[in-house]
Symmetry: C2
Subunit: 338 residues, 2 copies
């Protein structure tokens, strides 16, 4: 139970939590964040997004410590602007990642999948901007209490790991905006200027896009996985493994992994059995290795709308251009009716 | 696989499918539709919505033929403007309802839960405007081929019966808008000016709200059900009975019906067992009778954001006012960043 007729004026109180404030916080030209998608990020992608004015993010959840150091070094060698590292807080070597981040001067850390209590102060004391990913207003409030500078509010339609509440972006973002006084970055279902405008209308200060950046030229995902994403249609992704850790995944080919999970869930397989079915290394096998049958393919619902593999910088530019065109339209006859 | 960087200009081509066109089609002052919620509509609600400039709708899916005739007569006695009747096409006495609608001169029919092929021509030949509810772009295309004048695109977060694709409103609306050339009415997750602006940014011509109108003074739902809606939080509604007919329902009290369904689903109960558990009359028992334990309580995810029971006319006025205030903000600093 939150606010129903939230006064419009409260959402951006003194604009301290609006798009301009978010850009200042992140050091970007645009309030657009590339998500830290596991197995789908590298320095090339981060540099391309950063050069176009967005926030590129290395997804450290699928990197060994040495690999993260190499990728950070490559970003810094190719680009002198801001960027982020995403760290799932349940990652086994989280301590080593955090030391690397601080030693190498990473400007922004996006934490997820765990409590923001443990690392937020450590990072902020060392000058790092901290953003935490949440799937509910209650967790957003806890994150702000832990000291984070901003939150990503990620809805049910997002790819990969997902909240148990199943709250969609359209319902989640206004709840989170009403509950906290830091910039809220909307995630889940966003891929274009229209969806960015929708997110900002809901009170978000900016957007994070994952699926849209997986389907780019620079993304290191396997080309067969990218082609499979472009072939996705309505209903091609489903939230599965709810009894273990809910994750949105794309249907495989030939009755592969996703269908096997669906079948196991239909016969009420135990969490242990599901974990055994998942096994180890399936996400890498699918997304980096291109095994469309046995690999785990994490992607969002918005994949049904994707039909090309542009340069990542063009994604940023096209989203901004679409947003600006729509802003102009909003004051024209298309949005007036009487 | 649909359109990724949909040119902004195509969505309202010559404005024939925009908000003004929708208002003209429906005969309303505002592109706002009150959904035909089962057990939660009557003439009072429809009149209040209509007088405020929206489209009030009688939900015929929970009315006997005689009751529908009485309610239509009451609407016409109290209000000389436009209104609608929602007819789930699987309703047993659909033929009698359709005859009533035509004989009594109902201006708009919203069909759902069935193929629009059978009744659209019948209604249109008799001067009735026909709108069909869809949960995918593919069904929207089929509906337009069947001759409907507009479609309601209803997302995963909506209350009551729901699509198997689980596509959220944020993902669904742009897909449907890109696929058809009739006005698209967004439904699911909409309750205020912000969410209406989000829907129109996605290309919708208007919005349909169900949950928001259940939580009003005029709605004939049981007051205990309304109070239970106001107490809803994130995760309080879930899409259940997926093996039979997917329906979004609110958690009951005291481990009631929804928990019983969840338990049955966790042990992979058969569709027959689930149908037996559902039985007959549960929706009426919960929503009209106020049995919060054993009744089926249908409501949308947005119930987590509802905290009052306004007059239905004030809902329409506040949504429009919120939308207009937000439109003004779009040219201000809240939506600019560089």
């Amino acid at each position: 139970m939150l606010f129903c007729f939230m006064p419009i004026s409260t959402a951006f109180s003194d604009h301290s939590a609006g798009p301009a404030a978010l850009c200042q916080l992140l050091g970007t030209r645009h309030p657009i964040v590339q998500g830290g998608m596991v197995w789908c990020t590298n320095a090339d992608l981060v540099i391309a997004v950063g050069q176009a004015g967005g926030l590129g993010t290395l997804g450290a959840g699928s990197m060994y410590p040495a690999e993260l150091r190499e990728e950070i070094a490559a970003v810094k060698a190719g680009f002198d602007g801001t960027f982020a590292v995403n760290v799932p807080l349940l990652y086994p070597a989280v301590e080593e990642h955090m030391q690397t981040i601080v030693e190498m001067g990473v400007p922004v850390v996006i934490t997820s999948a765990g409590s923001p209590k443990k690392w937020t102060k450590f990072l902020k004391d060392r000058g790092v901007v901290v953003v935490h990913v949440v799937s509910s207003a209650a967790f957003a409030v806890k994150s702000v209490a832990a000291g984070v500078d901003a939150v990503v509010a990620e809805g049910f339609e997002a790819g990969g790991h997902n909240g148990r509440e199943e709250t969609t972006t359209l319902c989640l973002v206004p709840e989170v905006v009403a509950a906290v006084n830091v910039p809220v970055i909307a995630a889940g279902g966003i891929s274009c200027g229209r969806t960015m405008m929708a997110a900002l209308a809901l009170g978000a200060a900016g957007v994070q896009m994952g699926s849209r950046f997986v389907a780019t030229a620079e993304c290191p995902a396997h080309e067969d996985f990218k082609a499979h994403i472009l072939a996705a249609a309505a209903g091609s992704t489903k939230l599965r493994l709810k009894g273990v850790t809910p994750v949105r995944m794309l249907d495989n080919t030939e009755g592969g992994f996703s269908a096997q999970v669906a079948e196991a869930e239909a016969r009420s397989a135990s969490p242990e059995a599901l974990r055994e079915l998942l096994g180890r290394g399936r996400a890498k096998r699918g997304m980096r290795g291109g095994d469309l049958v046995e690999g785990e393919l994490e992607i969002g619902q918005v994949s049904a709308r994707l039909d090309n593999l542009p340069q990542a910088g063009d994604v940023v530019r096209d989203v901004v251009a679409g947003f600006e065109a729509l802003r102009t339209q909003l004051s024209g006859p298309s949005f007036h009716w009487s």
